[in-house]
């Protein structure tokens, strides 16, 4: 099956041994989208790696930007401004909603249900329009910067944001009515692709897959970063960890993310005009009028851009809760403007590894819903 199969959104080859329609053995082969992410990062400056992180999980690019920048900032030992942290929470959650909408929508499409897919994609369009409003790009955002953000929130954006969220909620509620109680849909998802929570932990699986099996591990609560400890939200869990539980967990996480964004709006309104970027000449360039008017600032900008920011020698690991689980970056610096090593801990790659165990003994038709719920994103899995 694969590498390019109409019922899988992601390029993967699955070698199957079947007895009738029962899966006897299988081997999952990944790597079709390998583009040498880590090698490319090592050859550019610290800043030049950010657009590459967009192309890891292209469904939730902002979360990957965020994880990378947080790792570099940890190495630089700098604290973000409060406004920047709230902006990051808001943008990251938008990204998560977009990712989950794609996951649940595409799952329906690949099982032959076109209508719910369109509900999901219509809602995702609204999310992508919101992302475009933030950074000018719908998918590959390149929004987060080391020490700040690409730019501040545009005027009138927050009103549009809360209107669009109402729309998204209406669409997800319609989606829920069409799909979740549909007998055909439930039969395809219930009791398929199940794996116990003990085994998931052994395989280091995180994110919605683990939560669906009943382990309420969410880095936003387990190890709060940014301003998540000031925000009120719940961590949905499933009971047995089959595909249906995973589907319900993702649906509820969309609602929880919208709840988080709603809590960001008043804070962002109140802090209008506050600084977004930190005042640190190592990573932030001087204002443009000073660059063009003064010699020192011109030199600073020139050296910053051509040589890259000087990151102190050492190593750091920072992780965020991405839509698929723990997305971490391990960065090593030798003190120059270029990274010595950038390792991405990809949740997709780790989560695909136990797919074989989820499916052996099941039916051929279970592959598609299981693969959809694992939500392997080729860009992130293969890097």
């Amino acid at each position: 099956m694969g590498p390019s199969h109409p019922a899988t959104h992601g390029t993967v080859k699955i070698l199957l041994e079947i007895d009738g329609e029962e899966i006897v053995d299988m081997d999952v082969m990944v790597g079709y989208l390998h583009r040498g992410f880590e090698k490319e990062c090592e050859s550019g400056t610290w800043y030049q790696a950010i657009p590459y992180t967009d192309r890891l999980n292209y469904n939730s690019a902002i979360l990957a930007n965020l994880a990378y920048c947080m790792a570099v900032e940890k190495l630089l030992d700098c604290e973000m401004t409060p406004r920047c942290q709230w902006m990051r929470v808001m943008a990251g959650e938008l990204s998560r909603v977009g990712d989950h909408l794609t996951r649940v929508g595409a799952a329906c499409l690949e099982l032959g249900a076109m209508t719910p897919f369109l509900y999901g994609i219509e809602a995702r369009e609204l999310i992508w329009d919101l992302q475009e409003g933030l950074c000018g790009a719908r998918v590959t955002s390149n929004y987060v910067r080391i020490g700040g953000m690409q730019r501040d929130i545009p005027e009138g954006y927050l009103t549009r944001l809360s209107e669009s969220l109402n729309e998204v909620e209406k669409l997800t509620s319609d989606f829920d009515k069409v799909v979740t109680s549909n007998r055909i849909f439930v039969d395809r998802f219930r009791n398929t692709g199940t794996l116990s929570k003990e085994r998931l932990i052994e395989m280091a699986v995180t994110g919605p897959l683990l939560r669906a099996a009943g382990v309420p591990l969410d880095l936003r609560k387990a190890q709060p970063y940014l301003t998540y400890d000031e925000i009120d939200f719940d961590v949905p869990v499933g009971a047995i960890g089959d595909n249906f539980d995973r589907f319900l967990v993702c649906q509820e996480e969309i609602n929880q993310s919208i709840r988080i964004i709603r809590q960001c709006i008043p804070v962002l309104e109140k802090t209008q005009g506050d600084p977004v970027n930190i005042d640190d000449p190592r990573v932030r360039w001087p204002a443009k009028d000073r660059v063009f008017g003064r010699m020192e600032e011109l030199i600073q900008q020139f050296k910053g851009v051509t040589e890259g920011p000087r990151v102190p020698e050492g190593e750091a690991y920072a992780a965020v809760e991405s839509a698929n689980g723990e997305l971490g970056f391990y960065v090593v610096s030798d003190g120059t403007g270029k990274p010595y090593k950038v390792r991405c801990r990809p949740p997709s790659f780790v989560n695909v590894a136990p797919m074989k165990e989820m499916l052996i003994g099941g039916m051929l038709a279970d592959i598609v819903p299981t693969f959809d719920m694992i939500n392997m994103i080729g860009g992130e899995c293969d890097r």
């Binding site: 790597g31 780790v350 293969d382």
Partner: protein, 171 residues
């Protein structure tokens, strides 16, 4: 989460002389161990009282081409509560980075798949990218690249521009 310094104290107490070096930098606790003792160390970290690192989150390597030993394997461990306490979400109890130097020749180390099954694909990736081989791995073959690929691209002496020969169709 336990702070890095007290955690290092607990770890050193349990592992004794196996810890060759340790440091806490930017809040991350790191220990350096000998490659021969990796299996024992990781087993103790998983099962030891007060340690209980139940997740091998990540495994990677770094090529310090001018140093001896040339490679460094980097294991990222994490400890979480598995048993839910009412409706409370899990806590991340502690994180630890374990490093071990691996020489260029023989570029080989014991596999830890038996201790942490998640190491299966991660060790295959390290083999694929760095050419470090893992003794006792059940299925050590390339995972991201193809079998006919020559060399290991994340080694610092592999030029970024190098092209690989085309291979024909395969079944």
């Amino acid at each position: 989460m336990t702070e890095a310094e007290p955690l290092l104290g607990t770890v050193k107490e349990s592992l004794g002389e196996a810890v060759l070096d340790s440091h806490a930098y930017r809040g991350d606790a790191t220990i350096l161990v000998a490659p021969e003792s990796l299996q024992d160390v990781l087993l103790e970290l998983r099962d030891g009282e007060k340690l209980r690192f139940n997740l091998l989150m990540d495994l990677t390597a770094v090529d310090y081409i001018e140093r001896e030993p040339r490679f460094e394997l980097v294991y990222h461990l994490a400890a979480i509560d598995v048993e839910p306490r009412g409706t409370e979400p899990c806590r991340m109890n502690q994180r630890l980075r374990v490093k071990a130097g691996v020489p260029a020749d023989p570029c080989e180390v014991d596999s830890v798949v038996e201790i942490f099954p998640s190491a299966d694909w991660m060790e295959r990736e390290v083999w694929d990218m760095y050419g470090i081989s893992f003794r006792g791995h059940p299925n050590l073959k390339r995972v991201l690249l193809y079998e006919e690929f020559k060399g290991h691209p994340l080694r610092k002496d592999y030029p970024k521009e190098r092209r690989q020969p085309l291979i024909g169709p395969r079944n």
